[in-house]
Symmetry: C2
Subunit: 345 residues, 2 copies
DNA sequence: TTATCCATAAAAAACGTTTTCGTTGCATAG
DNA sequence: CTATGCAACGAAAACGTTTTTTATGGATAA
């Protein structure tokens, strides 16, 4: 096993000092042409690469972005990560991804861990439990230490950071409006508890669409499920009961899973999509695209979201620290992808 | 903005030396009870946390595992990552994830980057292009430098590393046999080019199942598509043509996407699943579970695979470097998940 | 001849730790 | 009274860099 080549080893081998080697490799004019060439040739031959850890320590920056998300087995988040990765690479930044599993303690732990020298800044989507607890001390701490933070998708108020969001309300409104335009009148929504930001906003969009269309919101047609990231048996049963109990001709859901589970029950009941019931969901993922019928969705453009979040963070990292920092919220446009689960206009 | 607390700052504040602070915090008996308590109290009050970068440099290890995968927008890989993450946390290791995008150059770049001090070892699934090129110098280099490597799922031969695999051949054989047992006789396979290890092995399993059942393999019933991670329009067209052209009563596919695209075409043609054509695919993901009809799959147990890979790597990292290293291949059991896309026995 | 300047290089400090080795002062043993 | 030992702490080296400061000759200027 060959030990990794260091400046010290090169110096010893060529009988010069460490600083000479360093300077030669960085093309300092202080070093004579001859020495420089000799050192560079040697370094190249033995494939010298500076040690990142040492550089990080020296420069007090890591060129690494920490990403903390609730879930990785989740199409939307993976597209966001892909976007972050792409933008990061373009600017020579690394990406470290950590999972919170929607768990408050894990989110705190991960942030503290990464904050101790591993990253220069954070991109995160807040864990469900954190939103419930409303305890954001870990966020405030890293910000206090001068590490910029960008939140995306699941965000909270009152933190000194930038935000990248889609207009959840408008997106939902758009989706529901499409159903209204194609003739639906009794539209239900499968959503999540209000403390999850995206759930609340999408529900608001749903209601606004109905009201704008002169339809009174019927609270019985709103089902708030516990978990937005999965649809376990309990949730499936709730959905089935909910659909059976109500007379509806359209369903809007805040994610794909709720939609396909609704579709499954409708199918079982012999109801046709979209002839009897239209279906529109948030998040344009693999399920929506490949389902039969394919689902009309509100696309969140996760990749663009990731790119934007990374861009904002990198910008902050490269700008000389300013007092009186300004924080903004960037909105990514959603778009309605019309497929087979809704009637045509 | 408060600068991060360091040993040096604590030392200055309390008028002791840096080494005293360090020792006190690590409960060295060399330091008097009194001084120790004072220092620990101070550190606790101001929430001192050692700098990871400095520790990494000092200890020449990072307690970080580098994971390189072809794709993140991919259910199987995300489950593997989840498994790796879990095991890593349990042993106080961090995880850095990098994407190769199935691109050789990106794989090389990422490895070199992480190898320069960022990680202690690697877990990777080889990019398609790398398999095609058969250029593994980057792998050999990091191994040469003493960093252990564990390959999973998409592996190659001739590298000094451990491997974690499912028995692709047996899994495929199992799936196809299930179709045979439930009465299928003309079974087709949608697979991928042979240089992708998993594609080749699954095809072999398919053939073996047929032969064991006394059915001659019909080459016309084997369709080898270019890309195993996606199913673009060209591939969809190939699948449609393939199904139309051949008289079949069962289809086995090496991933979910091929299966649902086949299902879509069958549906269009008015063929019923499983009455007219049975369908079994590799990879038990969201699509299989939620599709109508839900798909019978060969489950790869990605999470377990991730856990195992991480366990092996961590073991290597903690064992004092041995000469004459032994490398092994661990197999994760697959299991057949019977759902609605096959007839019952 | 002596002071000055320049080209080239080496030494040292710094980043934040841990750890080995000294140092200091005091108490005890001989 | 001197030597020894110990408790308590500090200094310094090391990890691998970069950068600032210092040193060394030789050439030029006064």
């Amino acid at each position: 096993m060959r030990r990794k080549l260091t400046l010290k080893l090169i110096a010893k081998e060529l009988n010069v000092s460490i600083s000479t080697v360093s300077k030669a490799l960085r093309d300092s004019p202080e070093i004579s042409e001859e020495t420089r060439e000799k050192i560079k040739a040697f370094a190249k031959l033995y494939n010298y690469r500076p040690n990142n850890i040492a550089l990080s320590l020296k420069n007090r920056k890591t060129n690494t972005i920490g990403v903390i998300i609730p879930q990785i087995v989740h199409h939307f988040f993976t597209t966001v990560i892909r976007g972050i990765e792409m933008m990061a690479r373009e600017h020579n930044y690394n990406v470290i991804i950590c999972l919170s599993n929607n768990d408050f303690d894990k989110e705190v732990l991960n942030m503290e861990l990464l904050a101790n020298g591993s990253t220069d800044g954070f991109i995160l989507s807040v864990a469900k439990e954190t939103m419930l607890k409303e305890d954001y001390h870990h966020l405030n701490e890293v910000i206090e230490q001068g590490m910029p933070v960008v939140m995306f998708d699941r965000v909270v108020e009152g933190i000194a950071c930038d935000r990248v969001l889609i207009d959840d309300k408008a997106g939902a409104k758009n989706g529901v409006t499409h159903m209204l335009k194609t003739g639906c009148r009794r539209i239900a929504i499968l959503t999540t508890k209000d403390y999850v930001s995206v759930g609340r906003l999408r529900t608001e969009g749903y209601m606004e669409a109905l009201e704008d269309f002169g339809i009174k919101v019927d609270k019985k047609l709103i089902l708030k499920l516990d978990n937005i990231d999965e649809c376990d048996e309990a949730a499936q049963k709730k959905i089935a009961d909910f659909i059976k109990k109500n007379d509806i001709d359209g369903i809007f859901t805040v994610n794909e899973l709720f939609a396909v589970n609704a579709a499954r029950f409708l199918h079982k009941e012999g109801k046709k999509i979209p002839e009897d019931v239209s279906l529109v969901c948030f998040t344009d993922g693999l399920l929506s695209e490949n389902f039969i019928p394919s689902l009309t969705t509100v696309s969140q453009h996760g990749e663009e979201m990731g790119r934007k979040a990374a861009e904002i963070l990198i910008n902050k990292l490269q700008r000389p620290e300013e007092e009186d920092e300004e924080y903004g919220t960037t909105y990514i446009e959603t778009s309605l992808v019309q497929r087979e689960s809704t009637r045509s206009l």
